[in-house]
Each structure stands twice: as C-alpha cells, then as structure tokens.
C-alpha cells in the first residue's frame, strides 16, 4: 500500500547506513519449562521496574500481561484432571491434563501498527528490522497502545512514555544475544537471523507433528502472508493462538487506512453538503 512507503516504516522500503540481516526470535513453546528466567533477565538488563506483587490465581502466572515495563511474559495454561483450568473434561480426563507454557514478547511485526500510527516518529524500524521506541522522542500520546493487534505496547505510569521489547537493541549493536534468549535454559527462546530461524522452525514443526499428541502444532506468525506480514518474533504453538491469549488472525489496522480516509472524505463532503443545503433553504 502506497501509504506505507511514504514513511519508510516497512522493512522493505527503509534504508540504513549499515544494513543488517533481519533479526528475530523463534519461541518454541514445546521446550518452555515456565522458569521465567527470560522475564527476570529482561527486567534486569533493561532496568525495568517491578509491576508490584499481585496474585492472579491463574496458575503460576502472576505477571499477567505484557506492558510498558514487562517485555517478556510467560503464559501458563494449566489444565488438570478436575478440569479446574477449563477445557473439555472428557478430553482432559483421558489425557490426565496438560501444561502449556509460552513466553510472549513483542512480535516486531513486518507491518507494525504501533509504528504506523506513532505521530512523533518515536517508534522506528531499526537496521535489524526490529521496532523500537525512542524514549527521548515519545511524548506519551498513547496512540500505539490500542493500535497494536497483540496488546503488547503500553504507556508507562512511571515516566509517561510508551515502552516495549527492543529485542535488546543495545546488545544487538554490540553483536550480543538479547538477554531473554541468553538466559533461557532450554533454548525455547532462540535468537538469530530470521531466515535461519524460519528454516529451523520448519524442521522442528515437522518433528513435533510426527508425535500423534501434537498434530495440532503450528507455527504462528512465521511467513510473510498473514495480516501483519509476518513477525520478527514467531512461535511454535501446540494449540490455537487464542488459548495462549494471542489473536488467531491479527491484521495491521493501517491496512484499511486508505478505505477509512475515503469514508472520512465522504463524511466531510456530507458535512459541507448539509450546511450548503441548510444555507440555501432556510428562510431568514
């Protein structure tokens, strides 16, 4: 869409002094043990404040969600025999329950809504193909918050500006691995060149699917043809995305922006037309 090109917000059209291969995360949820090392490593490296102590009573998940100060979030889907965690009781009884863990993160979308709608140019596409908030430019308008189709980015209470995963931009520029991937003890979080990660994920999916229990496994946001043009961060999931709190068919809202402005143009014309009619018709 021509509007995308105008800002260089897209991976394909942006230009850099020192171009790099697109970097990303492949999060293989089958390997996640729910240790939250990624959450802690992220907080520690990025010096993010705690969100306070809350007990959600939702399995081991007391983090709850990604927000301006929490950039990795481990989801726990706990489904036990008694069906406490919800789910189809018959299936669960037969299986004696199951655990799904998934470490969620910003998807670093190919078509990123947060970046598109940002009015200040604070959100940028880096040379690594990642999406980063320039904290010293952001004025805290909050537009990116409802724009993200994954509910990732948020306005921080502490300093008023938006915050989210940077894929450890500072570490990348030094050739280092992002903190979460470095800390992950099971290689559930894998970092690298996106092309390579995708190839690795394809092989892994085939292997996982060979197991009859996991025939529903799928790669989420791997590829270029979904509603966000693919994620720089993508996932191997064992169940439907919504089970993990992910949208099953996310679409970048700006895809329809041209259509929206056309409607707005008609509404503006209607406004002028009604005013003109009233001006002609009304007696003095």
């Amino acid at each position: 869409m021509e509007l995308f090109d105008a800002t260089g917000a897209d991976r394909e059209t942006a230009t850099y002094d020192e171009p790099q291969a697109r970097k990303g995360f492949f999060t293989d949820t089958t390997l996640c043990i729910g240790c939250k090392a990624c959450e802690v490593a992220c907080k520690e490296w990025n010096q993010l404040p705690s969100d306070g102590m809350t007990f959600t009573a939702q399995s081991y998940d007391n983090t709850g969600e990604l927000n301006g100060t929490t950039w990795r979030h481990v989801a726990f889907v706990e489904e036990l025999r008694n069906g406490k965690g919800g789910g189809d009781e018959q299936v669960l009884r037969a299986q004696a329950g199951r655990w799904l863990m998934e470490s969620d993160v910003c998807k670093h979308c190919t078509h990123a809504a947060c970046l598109d709608v940002c009015p200040t140019g604070s959100l940028i596409r880096t040379e690594f193909g990642t999406v980063v908030v320039q904290e010293d430019v952001c004025n805290g308008c909050g537009y990116c918050v409802p724009a993200c189709p994954f509910g990732v980015i948020d306005k921080r209470q502490t300093d008023g500006h938006a915050g989210k995963c940077t894929l450890c931009y500072d570490r990348l520029t030094d050739g280092e691995t992002p903190a979460c991937a470095k800390a992950c003890p099971t290689e559930s979080i894998q970092f690298g060149d996106l092309d390579e990660l995708r190839a690795r994920a394809d092989a892994r999916l085939e292997k996982v699917r060979a197991n009859a229990h996991f025939r529903d496994a799928s790669l989420y946001l791997r590829g270029d043809d979904d509603g966000i043009g693919g994620g720089g961060a993508f996932f191997l999931l064992l169940d439907k995305p919504e089970v993990y709190g992910l949208p099953p068919d996310p679409v970048v809202t700006t895809r329809d922006l041209g259509a929206m402005w056309r409607v707005a143009g008609k509404a503006a014309l209607a406004l002028v037309g009604v005013t003109a009619l009233a001006a002609l018709g009304a007696r003095k």
């Binding site: 995308f4 105008a6 800002t7 939702q58 998940d61 969600e65 889907v77 489904e79 965690g85 919800g86 189809d88 299936v91 598109d116 709608v117 940002c118 009015p119 140019g121 604070s122 430019v137 952001c138 004025n139 805290g140 308008c141 909050g142 537009y143 918050v145 409802p146 724009a147 993200c148 994954f150 509910g151 980015i153 948020d154 938006a162 529903d216 439907k240 919504e242 089970v243 993990y244 709190g245 949208p247 099953p248 068919d249 809202t253 700006t254 922006l257 259509a259 929206m260 409607v263 707005a264 509404a267 014309l269 406004l271 009604v274 005013t275 003109a276 009233a278 009304a282 007696r283 003095k284």
Partner: protein, 305 residues
C-alpha cells in the same frame, strides 16, 4: 484438543484481554466534541457570510476560535510527557491519523487566529479570506478523529470505520448548529436552527445504522454497560433537543433549551464511543471470535473434531 476455557464461546487465556484498551483520559472525548464542533462551526461561518447574516457568522467564528484555543490544552493535558507536545509536529506521517490531525488542527488554529486578528485590525477582506481558509480545514478537523480511533485494533472502532466518520460529522454539525442557535441574534437563527435539528436527528439515525452494519454481536459493546448508558442519555437528549427545536419555532428560550440538549448529547455520544471501545477491547471474545471465524473459513480442515 481445543481448550474452551471457562465454557466461553471462544477460547481465551483466563478471559484476559488480547488487545489493550485505549489509555486516553476524558480529555480526549471532550476534545473530540470540541474539535468536531469547531470544525463544523467554521463551515457554518462561511455559509452565514454568504447568506449575509454577519452577526451569526461572528458567533460561529468565535466558536471556532474557542475550540481551536481549547483543543491543544485538552490534548497536551492528556500526554504522558506534556513538555514534549511539540514533537507532534516533528514529522508529517500520512500513516498516522494523529499526525495528520495535529497538522489539520494547527492549520485550523493558525487560520482562525489570524482571521480574528485581521478582524480586530479592521482588515475586513483579509479576515474574510482567512475565514474561508479556516473552513477549508474545518470538515477535516471534524471527521479525522473518527479515522483516528478506527485506525486501531479496538474491535468496535475498527469494525465501524465505514460509519464513525458520519457519526462524528453529524454530531459536529449539530453541535455547531446548537452554538449558533443559542447565541445568534433573534433574526438570524433560522439557518443555525436547521443545522441543529439536522444534527439532532442525524446522530441517532447514523448511530442505528452503525449498529446494524456491525451486526448484533459487534454492536453489543455500544449497547451495554457504561457505553450503553451514555448512548441512551445521548439519544434522549438528541431527540428531546430535536423535538424542542422543531416545535419551539423561533422562541428564544425553546431554541436555547434545544441547543443545550443537542450540545450535551454530542458530548455523551463521544463518551459512549470511547467507553464502547474500552469494553470491546477488554473482552477477548470481540477480538478472537471474528478472527477465529476468518481462519476457519480459510482453512476448514483445521477445525478440531
């Protein structure tokens, strides 16, 4: 192996939201109304000039100026880092309706301020020309806010992108008409009264059309909870204002009463839209269900048995 968590129609992660609700303070719905009114007032100002009703035109011009002065205050107060408000004009980004809108508002504000200054200096022709310039940004100012909220992942905003601009336009026309009706000299109210009535009936009509196009499921957030209450108040005020305006004729008291109703109804309507957005973002089913249907339609084989 489908986990239908908590027996809901669509699966979710402990019923937690998938997308984040907007984080705007009440300054923003207020701004939506004031900016919408000011934009429509600038157009009505030029129309009044054409009709030779100059006192009425001045009323509209003052309304546009007041709106243009108040708007930035509301917008800046809503920012997380207010000192950086000038960053709004750091770039011009066509992909960001807020960027486009900031420029429209700035141009509108500059034009109406310059026109008012020219008027005070007695430069009548310059002042009139600048009124036309102001009016050229007016419709944009009134409708861009609808694009702004539609351009999000908030289900009931995005899905309503084909009607929201008309809703905001109708409400803007009614709001400006109400100001004109309330403050114009007695012999120049006919035009403003018409527009006030048009807006008063236009808003509920467009609102119902919007609900119909959204369908029963997606319209729910507009009908229930806080949003539903706000809308019912807005609708009542709208119809009451419209009826009083129609039946009261040129009676000043009736006109002013109607104007208060119509203006207030516009404010409630904006707060309703804001609350509906929040409600639809907080309940994951409004995000998941339509997307799940799309996926299942595309690849029916993936439906579990």
């Amino acid at each position: 192996m489908t986990a239908q968590a908590n027996g809901a129609a669509s699966a979710s992660y402990y019923g937690r939201p998938v997308v984040k609700p907007h984080v705007w303070t009440p300054m923003i719905p207020w701004y939506f109304w004031i900016g919408g009114m000011a934009g429509a007032a600038s157009v009505q100002c030029v129309a009044a000039r054409v009709r030779g009703e100059h006192d009425l035109a001045v009323v509209y011009k003052r309304a546009a100026l007041a709106g243009a002065m108040t708007a930035p205050v509301l917008l800046i107060a809503d920012l997380g880092v207010p000192a950086r408000f000038m960053n709004m004009l750091r770039v011009f980004k066509p992909t960001s309706p807020m960027s486009v809108g900031s420029w429209i508002l700035s141009a509108f504000g500059a034009a109406v301020t310059a026109s008012t200054l020219a008027e005070l200096l007695g430069w009548e022709r310059t002042s009139r020309a600048l009124e036309v310039v102001t009016a050229s940004f007016g419709p944009g100012l009134t409708v861009y806010t609808a694009v702004l909220i539609a351009d999000t992942a908030t289900p009931v905003w995005h899905e309503a992108y084909d009607t929201l601009p008309f809703l905001f336009a109708a409400s803007g026309v009614g709001g400006a008409g109400a100001i004109g009706s309330a403050f114009a000299p007695a012999d120049q109210t006919a035009f403003a009264r018409r527009l006030m009535i048009a807006g008063a009936f236009g808003v509920p009509i467009v609102g119902h059309l919007m609900e119909k196009r959204l369908g029963r499921f997606m319209a729910e957030p507009y009908r229930t909870g806080k949003a539903g209450s706000f809308r019912r108040v807005a609708e009542f005020l709208s119809l009451a204002g419209g009826a009083i305006g129609l039946l009261g004729g040129k009676n000043r008291t009736a006109l002013r009463g109607a104007a208060v109703c119509v203006a207030a109804s516009g404010v409630f309507e904006r707060f309703a839209v804001s609350a509906a957005g929040t409600q639809s973002a907080k309940d994951p089913k409004y995000v998941v269900q339509p997307q799940r249907e799309r996926v299942d339609e595309r690849e029916p084989a993936s439906v579990d048995t």
